[in-house]
């Protein structure tokens, strides 16, 4: 099935990518090619196949709930593009 320009715009919004009109055009064409290519998977009958999300059979891995040293606020915030003392600065979320 073909992806429309509007659908690609919606995916860009979900992905939080502000794409230019030229990028939207290009990705609409390319995503349609790629989706057309991956369509071949539908040829396979996978009715009774268990999905494999992970190569290892590990499930929950627990450890003792002990306090260990951590990197500390300053190091953690050192790469923040905008900060105020020990806080990350973000644009207003509520009006």
């Amino acid at each position: 099935m073909a992806l429309s320009h509007e659908e690609v715009e919606k995916v860009a919004l979900l992905a939080r990518l502000k794409l230019s009109e030229a990028e939207l055009e290009k990705f609409t064409t390319q995503l349609n090619q790629i989706v057309g290519y991956v369509e071949q998977l539908q040829q396979l009958d996978t009715e009774d196949v268990e999905p494999m999300a992970h190569p290892l059979p590990v499930t929950n891995v627990f450890r003792a709930d002990e306090v260990r040293p951590s990197i500390g606020t300053d190091a953690a915030l050192a790469n923040a593009p905008k900060r105020d003392e020990e806080f990350y600065l973000v644009p207003p979320v509520l009006d």
Binding site: L3, V8, V11, A12, L13, L14, A15, R16, L17, K18, L19, E23, F27, Q30, L31, Q33, I34, V35, Y37, V38, Q40, L41, Q42, L44, T46, V49, E50, P51, M52, A53, H54, P55, L56, V58, V61, R63, I71, A75, A76, A78, N79, A80, P81, K82, Y88, V90, P91, P92, V93
Partner: protein, 486 residues
């Protein structure tokens, strides 16, 4: 032979015999970088003073007889997706241009404990997404065998650094072939360990169920030595397996008696270059001559590998790369309307085209209404691919075949056609989906002098077998001793 062209194990011998100091060695490799990297462009960051300071420290330890690590004084290059505390780590992306990690990746810690000398961080496709390094936001690395051609990718900088004798060892990462394919194209040894063999702590994530860190080297012995150094359990990565790491270097030279070698029927079809095929067939004959049983095996679902991979890998990437939000670290747009606009502009400005394309595909594959048809379907096909390997490894000990369908292609040749670029990973990608280990070893040169690689795969956690099988081949040939003329 010049110091810079020697292997790490030869260099360790010279260091132990005091024929050379770690400082002299480090200066020699820095000299080679100085001389060649303007053309090859393998490195994103080189810090000579830092490397020399470490080398002097190691020389000091040797002089007074202090205990030293197993790579003491040997320079190593590291792909720029591995976090180095206090030193830039860009992932080949503009979004992380000014990022300085607060901690070391597990493998970096291991290298430091082994007294290796970190000589620089290497170029790669942005967030390891690509097969040529052309997706790096900073530079395209050149293939040292032909500067008009790509070195492969995504770990192209690491492969080129070793091939051009700018470092005897390097680390890369392999999500769909990103170690084995550039190793093949640059004429060096490259290994993707079994998923879980090496901790991913401090590896900037691309596709978490596929990513694995592994070595680049001139020969199999060095590859074993480096794997021994970095493998093992780490509490910080719960997918790293808590099982003993065999002493790979000790068993390496013992040939495998009664080795059963599988030849994958599906790997010798359309798309495989004739010269590559001839080299692989010649390699198979070497195994036959060594007494191995050669048996044809089938991986019937391997033709679906690329399709399944590009749904699984992009889905995981779209989720992993959601962390680049312009808040915690990385690029933030200067102008925006509101919070969501800030996210969207920061990401659009920071990411390159391939990364955007993959985030878009992954977001689509995970979105309401398509999740089952694309993502879950791909996971089911992934299991079929794993089952193909499980069946094959009941009949044979290893499978061998080409690492890549062609030798290195020209810069720019495939950049406008993402699907044709993705197809260059056709023989490597299924090992990542299955989670098994694989190695690429040099096995020939084309008439125009471009390297060809032999891929060997084995069942999960059979690295010892993989390395011994690779070494059996290497002993019979001299391809691993060839160096490009630069």
């Amino acid at each position: 032979m010049d110091l810079i062209h020697a292997t790490a194990h030869e260099l360790l011998g010279k260091l132990d015999r005091r024929e050379v100091s770690a400082e002299e060695l480090t200066r020699a490799f820095l000299g080679q970088i100085e001389r060649l990297d303007g053309q090859v462009r393998a490195f994103l960051h080189v810090d000579g003073d830092y490397a020399i300071a470490k080398a002097k420290l190691v020389d000091g330890k040797r002089a007074i007889g202090d205990p030293i690590g197993k790579l003491a004084g040997v320079p190593i290059a590291v792909k720029d997706v591995l976090c180095t505390a206090g030193r830039a780590t860009t992932c080949g992306s503009k979004i992380l241009e000014h990022f300085v990690p607060p901690y070391d990746a597990f493998v970096i810690r291991r290298l430091k404990e082994a007294d290796a000398v970190l000589i620089g961080k290497t170029n790669c496709d942005e967030f390891a997404m690509g097969s040529s390094t052309e997706n790096s936001a900073y530079q395209t690395t050149r293939n040292p065998w032909d500067l008009e051609r790509i070195p492969g990718g995504s770990s192209g900088g690491s492969a080129a650094a070793v091939a051009a004798s700018m470092a005897p060892l390097a680390l890369g990462t392999d999500t769909g072939g990103s170690i084995r394919q550039p190793a093949s194209l640059c004429g060096v040894v490259g290994m993707k360990p079994t998923y879980g063999r090496v901790s991913r702590f401090g590896l900037v994530a691309f596709a978490s169920s596929l990513d694995q860190i592994g070595p680049f080297a001139h020969d199999v012995t060095d590859c074993a030595l480096l794997l021994e150094t970095i493998a093992g359990h780490d509490v910080m990565d719960s997918t790293s397996v808590d099982s003993p790491v065999p002493p790979y270097t000790q068993t390496l030279d013992t040939p495998l008696a009664g080795l059963r070698v599988g030849i994958v029927r599906e790997w010798f079809g359309v798309g495989l270059d004739g010269e590559v095929e001839a080299s692989i067939r010649a390699a198979i004959e070497i195994y036959r001559k060594l007494g191995a049983t050669i048996k044809e095996v089938s991986l019937p679902h391997s033709k679906y590998g690329i399709a399944a991979y590009y749904l699984v890998a992009t889905s995981e990437a779209s989720s992993n790369l959601a962390r680049y939000d312009g808040v915690h670290y990385g690029h933030r747009a200067n102008e925006f309307d509101d919070m969501i606009d800030m996210y969207s502009r920061s990401r659009a400005e920071g990411f390159g085209t391939e990364v955007k394309r993959r985030i878009m595909l992954g977001t689509y594959a995970l979105s309401a209404g398509y999740y089952d048809a694309y993502y879950v379907k791909a996971l089911k096909v992934r299991r079929l691919i794993r089952q193909d390997f499980d069946r094959a490894f009941e009949e044979v000990d290893v499978v061998v075949g080409p690492t890549a369908p062609t030798a290195a292609f020209k810069i720019g040749e495939k950049t406008e056609d993402p699907l044709s670029m993705w197809l260059s990973d056709i023989y490597t990608i299924t090992a990542n989906l299955a989670g098994i280990g694989g190695i690429s070893v040099p096995c020939g040169l084309t008439k125009s002098g471009l390297p060809i690689g032999l891929q060997i795969l084995a069942a999960p956690f059979e690295e010892e077998r993989l390395l011994r099988a690779a070494r059996m081949f290497e002993r019979e040939t001299d391809w691993h001793t060839k160096r490009p003329k630069l």
